[in-house]
């Protein structure tokens, strides 16, 4: 009904390349932003912040980052965990080396650092493709984890090799440490997520985005029509690394507060973020959000339903959780291989034709 493109004419190309060319979408987008920024901070509590919203926001950033690499540039990476670790450790080092600087800066610097590391590990992508590349990125994953585990300088020589986030603030408001208020950690992550999403959107709708997609869809043809593969791939690794680094930094400092590299940034993290991206939809920013929400929320929901509502033993619920998540992934892929974002798109197309079936 309300989903009408007609009557919503665009008279310039600026308007046509907007993020949300349809008025209704735009409206909904502002509504979501308003709720996220103006309502949620006032009603948030520790549980919602720490168990649901923070992981969602932070994983969404990582998913956007990985989506740029996998979904837009077509370079499948399984090194996400390792790159998040770079973000986390860089952030930790910056936090302890320059305690007086705003947390905001630390996180950005951590992102930058990760971008550099990511580019280095992206170099083989110039020769290695497809699943070979995916497996090759595992080299980054294992090497980085080993490095952070092995070299005491990274964890400031602490006895056990764990790093824990000291208290740091932004404009006097505590952001890290146990005393940081839930709303502050939430807002801090939300701001980063919004920033990342906007940047990602801008990059992907412009020149860079198109050269990434060209490389993804057919790298040889792309090169022949004038895309510099070196530049396209490495910028993708850099931008992706920047986002993933930010998410790693937030993951460590704001969300968990203390991490052990092998456990927090192990290979399962790489897979988790990749799932988010694929389930959400490759090559879609919205999909990154959807995928992160899905994989953060689903286990919690299943747990609540299974343990709290149905009162089943926790282990049976945990096993069923695996079974259900696995089955849902398959069901989703069968229903729509291009992810939740595509489901949404098809739904919109249908709405547009409504009430006619096609």
């Amino acid at each position: 009904m309300f989903y009408r493109e007609s009557g919503d004419f665009k008279s310039s190309y600026e308007q046509d390349s907007q993020t949300f060319p349809i008025k209704f979408d735009r409206f909904r987008y502002y509504a979501v932003l308003a709720i996220a920024f103006l309502v949620v901070p006032f009603v948030i509590n520790d549980y919602w912040a720490n168990a649901i919203l923070l992981p969602f926001l932070i994983y969404a950033i990582a998913a956007i980052g990985l989506n740029i690499l996998v979904g837009y540039a077509g370079q499948v990476s399984l090194g996400t965990g390792g790159f998040m670790a770079v973000g986390a450790y860089a952030c930790y080092k910056f936090m302890t080396m320059m305690p007086e600087v705003s947390m905001f800066v630390h996180v950005l610097l951590a992102g930058g650092m990760t971008a550099i590391v990511c580019v280095v590990f992206g170099l083989p992508s110039l020769r290695i493709k497809g699943f070979y590349l995916a497996v090759a990125t595992l080299a980054a994953q294992f090497f980085l984890v080993w490095l952070f585990n092995r070299v005491p300088w990274f964890y400031n020589y602490s006895a056990s090799g764990q790093i824990s986030a000291p208290e740091r603030d932004v404009f006097g408001i505590l952001i890290t440490g146990p005393n940081a208020p839930a709303w502050a950690t939430y807002m801090f992550s939300l701001i980063f997520l919004t920033l990342c999403a906007v940047i990602a959107r801008n990059l992907t709708r412009g020149t860079i985005g198109r050269s990434w997609m060209a490389i993804r869809d057919m790298d040889i043809a792309a090169e022949i029509i004038g895309v510099n593969p070196l530049k396209a791939k490495l910028t993708a690794f850099a931008v992706s690394g920047f986002f993933i680094g930010i998410s790693g930094a937030l993951f460590f400092s704001v969300y968990l507060g203390a991490v052990e590299v092998g456990e927090a940034f192990g290979i399962s993290k790489s897979f988790l973020v990749l799932f988010m991206v694929i389930i959400g939809g490759l090559g879609s920013i919205f999909g990154s959000f959807a995928g992160a929400a899905f994989l953060v929320l689903l286990p919690v929901v299943l747990k609540v339903v299974g343990v709290d509502v149905l009162g089943w033993p926790t282990d049976i619920v945990a096993h069923f959780q695996l079974v259900i998540v696995g089955a849902l992934i398959i069901v989703f892929l069968i229903a729509e291989p291009h992810g939740m974002a595509q489901l949404w798109r098809v739904a919109k197309e249908k709405l547009r034709l409504w009430p006619f079936p096609h």
Binding site: S12, E223, I224, I225
Partner: protein
């Protein structure tokens, strides 16, 4: 460099822009191109024909730098072209279409056409990330060019359609649009009309002629439809299993016995 001439229908053909000198290309035991030389003049429509597997597409790949010939040189604008990567070749103003359509399937038609303009867009990463200043202005300006080409090729109605959904013939047209968007000086077309019916071929011919007329674009064209080749091209190179067996105006080629034996066959109307 020789001077140009005026064709029968009044088009001006300039000097030689590209010259292939004794190109030999081998793949393991297969010799795809055997010591072939020919030139392409500015503003002309140059056809390359020959039986299947003769090495025509390979020749285009050599021109666009994707294949590196074992022997021979490519001269461009009167000087030997150094060994370069395909994207550098493209940046010199050479655009092309592919025999087995090579569109970016995950993108819309418009985005595909816009990729053709990548070489003309220079905004930096930061400007693009913020979508302010140069990036936005550039996007709009280039979009206008792309839209003009979309209009020209009459594909406005599918502008936003993902190319994966298009039928074969339209894909070919989108590919042409993408190549044209680069505003190339030399356009290489590899069987642009395969899989089209007569009416569509007529349209396609029209587009090609107009590009050539309006922008003065030099065109090298591979095609198996002799009607099209003979009608459109100024000069024709004939290849047969890697060797050049004919080169000249359509009429000369049509009457060349070797060409008739190897390629045209007897009953050609």
């Amino acid at each position: 460099m020789q001077d140009g001439y005026i064709t029968a229908d009044g088009r001006k053909i300039g000097g030689v822009v590209m010259e292939m000198k004794n190109i030999t290309l081998r793949f393991g035991g297969v010799v795809a191109i055997k010591d072939i030389s020919f030139d392409i003049r500015e503003g002309e429509i140059r056809a390359i024909i020959g039986p299947n597997g003769a090495g025509k597409s390979s020749m285009l790949n050599v021109i666009s730098g994707f294949y590196v010939p074992q022997e021979g040189e490519v001269w461009f604008h009167g000087e030997p072209r150094p060994q370069m990567r395909p994207y550098e070749v493209a940046q010199q103003g050479i655009a092309r279409t592919f025999q087995n359509i090579a569109l970016f399937e995950g993108m819309s038609v418009l985005d595909n056409v816009m990729t053709g303009r990548l070489g003309h867009m220079k905004a930096g990463l930061f400007s693009q990330a913020l979508w302010k200043g140069k990036a936005e202005a550039e996007e709009v300006a280039n979009r206008e060019v792309a839209e003009k080409i979309i209009d020209f090729l009459e594909i406005q109605h599918i502008r936003k359609t993902p190319v994966a959904r298009l039928p074969y013939g339209l894909k070919k047209r989108v590919e042409l649009a993408r190549a044209l968007a680069a505003e190339p000086k030399l356009l290489l077309l590899d069987e642009p009309m395969a899989g089209m019916n007569v009416e569509e071929k007529e349209d396609m011919s029209r587009f090609i002629l107009d590009v050539n007329d309006e922008f003065g674009t030099t065109i090298a064209l591979i095609e198996h439809d002799m009607g099209v080749v003979m009608d459109l091209s100024d000069r024709v190179v004939v290849m047969d299993y890697g060797k050049k067996i004919g080169d000249g105006t359509p009429d000369e080629v049509r009457n060349n016995q070797q060409v008739i034996d190897a390629y045209l066959g007897v009953s050609n109307d």
